[in-house]
Symmetry: none
Subunit: 194 residues, 4 copies
DNA sequence: AATGAATGAGGCTTCATTCAT
DNA sequence: AATGAATGAAGCCTCATTCAT
């Protein structure tokens, strides 16, 4: 953000961001040109650069904003639940639900993962996600709910399951998020306990 | 391939492919130019178009060749093992091992997944991988080794775990493939049984 | 100027002009954007076009105003001195002094000289300067103070010396204008008498 | 230069350089676009970047090449002349002659002088020119040919005269270089002696 | 008088691809 | 088989200028 924005300006900015998110998700980062975005919004080319420093900055901003919002959703779902495994469960369910409503952002995160230009931003988000999960896992281990194994490994495995089921079942096969979440939880808790 | 290749020609082609694989993996598909590839190999630009129709075709070829080879590795590892769960376990171990020696290809597959230009090629590879796993899972269910749940869901979950642990533990944290494979197997068998 | 200006308006206009002069002198005409100017002043973009028709017009205006003021300084210094050589000397001294206090304008004139968009404005100013000097030179020749050579050639030579010493000694080496002026006068009178 | 050039390539490069020099001299650096240059040469846009890294690099290259050639001309004219004042005289004459045949380069140097992007390149050229002249002046002072005054000041004054007379008389009024050179020499020797 | 927002032409540069040799 | 050279579309971004408020 480079200026203070009037209400109208803030709206335009939002419009550009959501349109860009959609196009990036559909076509990828490089194949989506700034021209595509402004054309889709129906404004002149210069407008883009009134609201964003560069195409790259916009994409990074989308990643940051998306991850921020996802995390807020997880925290809200977890609340102050005392049982560690229940917290993990709630986190999984909340993630699936959030991704179900923000498919674009899910895809953006996937895209960014393999792009060295955005690796820094993504890395940070991933670390936070892992750290959040690790915390609950350690609690669960301490409380004797699950056997004592490398918590980071377990966290990564859980995230892998969530990500994959989101993509394959919720998005590609169109199953309801709640159902997929139940499966993910089932699989993960099994994997943790054993 | 457009011509009959002399032995020397076949070598050139291999050289171009492996160099391209490395660069694509490092920088991504779009940010890697044909010029980068030929420069890295130390040949003129015309050479590239002597061996490949286009940049896109080369990338698709890398994906196909990579997946073909991976699958061959899995099959060899599974052999004629009669126990379904053991087959799954062998497949996981073989995948980890193969990825460990072909990091570039792993990254290429990740890159392709979110690119609509290569999704078709990828989709097919994924379907095969899922189908392979599903077959073993169905056997395991029939034989009563694991409870009866949607085999495709289970297959996706397994693939998600393998993929994620490969990336996070084997690649980023540098743990030996065998150790990571043991963790992956442990988590997945737990997830399947429960 | 397009409107009647209130006192405050006139002040704004001055502020824009002096800021623009500084930036133009620092960076050149093209590399200085209207945006740079208004930002440096701390006003909105519309303000610029309230006071000036265009960027080009502003620059031309700076040139005209600068040259007008320089000439006024020369005339004041020359007064009604009857001796032609003394008039030339006074003009040189006054020029050096004025440039010393208006470095930006000096640079602006240099910039304009090699820009076909402003050559017309500049040409006129140069002609006036040459004509002024030629007049004194002709007087000096008639009065037998100096040998009879092409007065325009002599005028150009004098202007060349003044310009160069201003730039090299006064600006770049930071010598006091009065000292540089003495040198310039010395060299030029020698060149004239020869 | 980024590649070794074939004869044909070297020719193209020359063609681009001389065309660009002409256009830059006519219109200035910024107002001349890369598109203008390639269009004038009658080639595609990409060709420019096959031979030059950037527009800026090309301009700097023109400056360097120009100054190099000018200096070579001066040295050839001075030869091993033992008399310091005669050396200065020869240098002036050679400069006028060279500029007469390379008007574009003269203008390019003028343009570069007031552009901070090229100041470094120019500064160096100027320093060399001054140092060359200073050397002869010191000799002349030691030998008692001229009074002892700041040699750098004298050098700058001479350069100022040469530059100005070149521009005003040789270029704008179209007088033959030899004639202008005689005037310049006359004026400068007078300025030096007295 | 002044501002934020918008326009759109145009500039520099990259790059997949082709071609003459 | 291979190279240097060329093409031209397309991309990102800047900027003078205008307009609604």
């Amino acid at each position: 953000m480079r200026h203070e924005l009037t209400p109208r300006g803030a709206e335009r900015r939002e419009q550009l961001m959501s349109t860009a998110a959609r196009l990036f998700a559909e076509r990828g980062y490089d194949p989506t040109s700034v021209g595509d975005v402004v054309e889709a919004v129906g404004v002149g080319k210069g407008v883009f650069y009134w609201y964003f420093t560069s195409k790259e900055e916009l994409f990074a901003e989308l990643l940051r904003a998306g991850h921020r919002d996802l995390r807020r959703g997880q925290e809200a779902a977890i609340g102050d639940e005392p049982d560690p495994l229940r917290r993990i469960e709630a986190g999984i369910v909340a993630s699936l639900a959030w991704f179900g409503e923000h498919r674009d952002v899910f895809t953006l995160l996937q895209i960014a993962r393999n792009d060295e230009r955005f690796a820094p931003v993504l890395r940070k988000a991933q670390e936070i996600a892992v750290a959040d999960t690790v915390r609950h896992l350690k609690d669960a281990i301490v409380e004797g709910q699950i056997p004592d194994r490398d918590p980071e490994m377990l966290a990564q495995a859980i995230l892998g399951v969530v990500e994959r089921l989101t993509l394959a079942l919720a998005f590609e096969r169109g199953e309801p998020a709640a159902r997929v979440a139940a499966d993910a939880v089932g699989f993960c808790l099994g994997g943790l306990r054993r």
